[in-house]
Symmetry: C2
Subunit: 247 residues, 2 copies
C-alpha cells in the first residue's frame, strides 16, 4: 500500500466546496474519491489539507490518500486528470511517507482575497473577485489587521457555532497589495476557522471605508462575538494559495 | 440624433460570435441591439469594428451606433451594462463625430493567440488558451512569419470561399512572446479575413514543430490555396485586443 500526495487546483464556482456531502457528489473531495474508488475497486478516502467553502477556489490545495493499486505517481496523475472535470486539475503527484496526512501535518496555509473596486464590468475576472465600491484607506486596514496577528481565540470571526472544538488559531501575517483597481489581502496562518478569512475581510473593509474604527478590531476580537464583526464577503473572491508542511 | 462609440469586452465561450444571426440572438451584436432597441423604442443597428468568430474573446472590441434618445454617455454605459450578461461588458462610452463608423474607420487591429504547451491541466486559463504539445522552435516561427508581413493576397489563409471581395490585407507585424508554459502570438494588421489569424497560427505551429519547412510559408502564401496552409487552431485561444482609429 502506498501513500500519495497531490497538489490540486480548482475553480470553485460550480462546487459545494471541498468536503464530500452525503446528499450530493458536487464537491471536490467527492469527485476525487469517486475516481480513486473506481481505480482501486474499493472505497478510497481522500484527506484534504482543509475544507474550502462552496464557491472558493484553490491554486494550491494539498490532499493525500492510500492506494493498494500499483501505479506510478505520473500514471496516477494522468489517470485522475483524465476523469476530472476541466475545472479541477492535479498539478503534481508524488509518493509520500506512510504516515503523511495532508490535514494533520499541515503547518501553515496562505489564502488570498481579491476585492474589485470599480463599477465597470470585469468580464475576465468576474468569477475570482469580490466587489466593494466604497473608497478604502489601506493604512487603516493595515493598522486594524495588526490586532489579529499572533495566537488568539478567533470565535468572533467564525460562523461556526461555539462547540467543544478550539477556536484558537495563529495568524502569522496579513498583507495588503494594490493591483490596478483591485486590492488583494494575503492571509498566512496555521489554520483558519469556518468563514474566518471572509469575516475578517468584511471587517477590514468596514474599517477601511470608515464604517468602523481601527481600534474596534481589538474590541471585536476580545468580545468573541460574531455579531460584532463585519459582513461575510462573497466566496468567489477567495482562493487557497498554498499549504506548507515540515521538510 | 447622437452617434456613440463604445469599448467592449467579452468572453466569447458561450456566444456564436459577434455577428447577429437571424436564427438566434446568441451573439454579442444581437445582445447589444436588443438592449438598445428597447431603450430607443425602435430598431437600432450596432456596427462592430469587425466580426469575431464563435468562441473568440475580446478585450478591446469597438462598436458604434446612433440613438435619438437623449442620454449621456455615462448613463448609457450604465444602462447597457445593467442589461448585459456578465460575460459581456461596456468599458467606456463616448459620443463620436456624426460620421464615425466603427468598422469603416478602423485603421488597424491587434489580435493575440495564446498557446498552452503543457500536458498539465490549466484550470484557470482553460477558456482562454489553445493547446499544442509538440515542442516549438520560436526562431523558425519568427522567420516564417516574416514572409507574411506587408500587403499580400491572403486567400490561402481564409476559410471564406473565393468571391468578389478582396482577400488582400496588410499585416504590420507578427510578434512572439514566451510566458511560462505559454506562447503568445501578437498580430497587428489593417484587418483580417475569416479564420485568417487562426489558420496562420496553425501554419506557424506546424512550422515551429518541424512538420513544415520555414520556406513553405512563402509557397503557401503564393499558392493562394487553403489546402496548403496549416490547421485551424481552436477559437478559445484567440482574443481581439485593440482596434485603432485615426486621431
Amino acid at each position: 500500500m502506498s501513500n500519495y500526495r497531490i497538489l490540486l487546483q480548482y475553480e470553485g464556482t460550480k462546487y459545494q466546496g471541498w468536503q464530500k456531502q452525503t446528499s450530493s457528489d458536487n464537491t471536490i473531495q467527492g469527485k476525487l474519491e469517486a475516481i480513486l474508488t473506481k481505480l482501486e475497486g474499493e472505497e478510497v478516502s481522500v484527506n484534504g489539507s482543509g475544507r474550502t467553502d462552496s464557491g472558493v477556489h484553490a491554486y494550491g490545495q494539498v490532499a493525500s490518500f492510500h492506494l493498494n493499486t500499483v501505479i506510478s505517481p505520473q500514471e496516477l496523475l494522468e489517470y485522475i486528470n483524465r476523469y476530472l472535470p476541466e475545472d479541477i486539475g492535479v498539478i503534481s503527484c508524488v509518493t509520500a511517507a506512510e504516515r503523511f496526512h495532508a490535514r494533520l501535518n499541515a503547518v501553515s496555509k496562505i489564502y488570498c482575497y481579491r476585492i474589485f473596486q470599480s463599477q465597470l464590468p470585469h468580464v475576465f475576472e468576474r468569477r475570482y473577485v469580490g466587489e466593494y465600491l466604497e473608497p478604502l484607506k489601506l493604512d487603516r486596514m493595515e493598522k486594524a489587521a495588526e490586532f489579529l496577528i499572533g495566537t488568539h481565540d478567533y470565535q468572533a470571526f467564525t460562523s461556526a457555532k461555539k462547540g467543544k472544538k478550539s477556536t484558537v488559531r495563529t495568524i502569522h501575517s496579513i498583507r495588503f497589495e494594490a493591483v490596478g483597481e483591485e486590492i488583494r489581502i494575503w492571509f498566512k496562518g496555521d489554520g483558519f476557522l469556518y468563514h474566518m478569512v471572509r469575516i475578517i475581510t468584511g471587517t477590514l473593509l468596514e474599517i477601511g471605508s470608515g464604517q468602523k474604527e481601527v481600534e474596534s478590531m481589538k474590541e471585536i476580537l476580545d468580545s468573541k462575538n460574531r455579531q460584532n464583526a463585519g459582513f461575510l464577503v462573497s466566496a468567489k473572491g477567495l482562493a487557497l494559495m498554498e499549504v506548507s508542511y515540515d521538510s
